[in-house]
């Protein structure tokens, strides 16, 4: 099988994106490009702004008082912060998975997966069932839950709950999936499963993943961006970033000398 020759397509791009918490923290003037169907890792020490940046990419800061976002974040060329853009429609195209699994506790496994579809008006039971199966298969959870879709989501293990959260995010067919340290609350076996999953998911969706774990970034990502004190220090192909970084600070970080 030969790879089709395609020029890399930029799915998402930021121009001088700044998130101001009003206390000096936040991120400043971040300009990054994220290729379609690639895994893009954001790394850096605690407090460097990588999560803050990630949350700006689907307007998650909108709900927090006193947070100001300036600059541009373009999805397929359109600024998601432009006047008149509804954050709800932005988030339908840019999904998110969080540090801790976040199943809706009162809902069954099935209801969790189809929550996005159902709550915007999809009532067709067959379509919902199809969506649920497809998404759970994509999230590599189908075989474990197929016979108990009606059980409460809270019965699943932590790793399963995180894959359920991923299935739920995939069920609304996002173009981009943001992942905020999705394995930080999981044991090594569950972490490995999620990492394998990320590798498969990039066939369908652009992934931007924040990780604390440099080995993880090296294992799963195609492109890595290194954040420090609210700015991007360096960004490039993951291989190069870990073997031959340009900036001295990047080298110090990836070799474990700080952070």
């Amino acid at each position: 099988m030969t790879e089709p020759a395609v020029t890399p397509r930029i799915r998402m791009r930021t121009h001088d994106l700044t998130v101001d918490y009003g206390n000096g923290r936040g991120v400043r003037d971040v300009s990054l490009a994220f290729e379609d169907r690639k895994v893009n890792a954001l790394i850096g020490p605690s407090g460097c702004g990588k999560t803050t940046f990630l949350r700006a990419l689907n307007r998650m800061h909108d709900l927090t008082r006193g947070v100001k976002v300036t600059g541009q974040a373009l999805l397929d060329g359109d600024d998601i912060y432009a006047a008149g853009v509804d954050p709800v429609t932005v988030r339908r195209r840019i999904g998110m998975v969080f540090q801790k699994p976040t199943p809706f506790p009162t809902m069954s496994i099935f209801d969790n997966v189809v929550a996005g579809q159902r709550l915007v008006g999809q009532r067709d039971r067959r379509k919902l069932a199809e969506t649920a199966e497809r998404s759970l298969r994509q999230a590599a959870l189908w075989d474990e839950v197929a016979d108990r879709l009606r059980s409460p989501a809270s019965c699943l293990s932590g790793g399963q709950q995180q894959r359920l959260s991923i299935a739920r995010a995939l069920a609304v067919d996002p173009d981009v999936l943001l992942m905020d340290e999705p394995t930080s609350s999981l044991d090594p076996a569950a972490t490995r499963r999620i990492e394998e999953l990320v590798g498969q998911l990039k066939q369908d969706v652009t992934i931007i993943i924040v990780t604390h774990n440099m080995q993880q970034a090296a294992r799963i990502s195609d492109v890595t961006s290194f954040f420090l004190d609210g700015s991007v220090i360096e960004s490039g192909a993951t291989d190069a970033m870990f073997t031959n970084p340009i900036d001295e600070r990047t080298e110090q970080y990836v070799t474990g000398r700080f952070g």
Partner: protein
């Protein structure tokens, strides 16, 4: 130190036990079949041993309190949603101050408010006016309880819902409120129990009525005319000059006490079951 703490605990417990014991010992003699099936009528009935009871107050309490609850729950929960979920909204701090003020306002003033707004314009005391006054008593308690129950729901659940591209109100209704439900039910029942024991807001609104209506099962008979309720009847009997009525007042106290205890018990049970 522990001794002092135990002493303080007893000081809390003792008045409750004394109240229960005293109310029961004074009123139990008046509790009989007639008490629940006959209306009160005039004082001569009790004095001459004719059948007399509290059916009109029990039925009135049932219909008026239920009407108050039905009106106060949607509004109170709505205000609680504003307090807990829309913290950035300019109305939020104003609502918080007003709600706490309303909660602290003496109940008699709430009765006076409804007297001015409803009783005078309509020209009649009515159970509905009483229900409105009790609803005003319940409102701030329900709003605060709703806020408390919603605040216990982790913020991450809201973010997870929003990240699916759902509007905020959808997330709240579908994902947040169901998690908060046990706390919400408890709050509503506490508000109900609190209002069910109030006599003051009813004195100027539903007034009181010694007789059962012609059709005792029709709620409108209570809501459109002056109607009886247990706490206000208890007060009326207590200040009356008739010895037999005093005993019936104590018995009304027993029924009221039982009602409140049952409501609390059911509330606890529902909460525990949901967990």
């Amino acid at each position: 130190m522990l001794g002092l703490i135990i002493l303080a605990s007893l000081v809390v417990l003792v008045p409750l036990l004394i109240v229960i014991w005293y109310v029961v010992s004074q009123g139990v003699s008046a509790l009989n079949g007639d008490f629940f099936t006959k209306d009160l009528g005039g004082p001569t009935r009790a004095q001459f041993g004719q059948p007399t009871g509290m059916a009109q107050a029990i039925a009135g309490t049932f219909f008026i309190d239920l009407t108050a609850l039905l009106m106060a729950v949607p509004v109170g929960v709505g205000a609680g949603l504003m307090l807990a979920e829309y913290k950035e909204h300019p109305l939020n701090p104003l609502l918080r101050v007003m709600n706490d003020t309303l909660n602290g306002m003496p109940a008699i003033l709430k009765g006076l408010l409804i007297f001015t707004l409803v009783v005078r314009p309509t020209g009649t005391f009515s159970g509905f006016a009483g229900a409105l006054a009790l609803g005003v008593v319940m409102l701030p308690i329900i709003a605060r309880a709703t806020e408390g129950a919603l605040s216990l729901v982790p913020w991450s659940i809201r973010e997870a819902g929003l990240a699916l591209g759902l509007p905020r109100w959808r997330v709240i209704l579908a994902a947040v409120l169901p998690v908060a439900r046990p706390g919400l039910v408890t709050g509503v029942l506490i508000a109900f129990a609190r209002a069910a024991g109030e006599a003051a807001p009813l004195l100027l609104t539903s007034l009181g009525n010694n007789f059962l209506p012609r059709d005792p099962w029709n709620p409108l008979e209570y809501l459109t005319k002056a109607a009886d309720t247990l706490p206000q009847r208890l007060y009326a009997l207590a200040v009356s000059p008739y010895k037999q009525w005093h005993a019936m007042g104590w018995a009304a106290g027993i029924v009221l006490l039982a009602l409140v205890i049952v409501v609390f018990f059911v509330g606890r049970l529902l909460t525990r079951k949901a967990h």
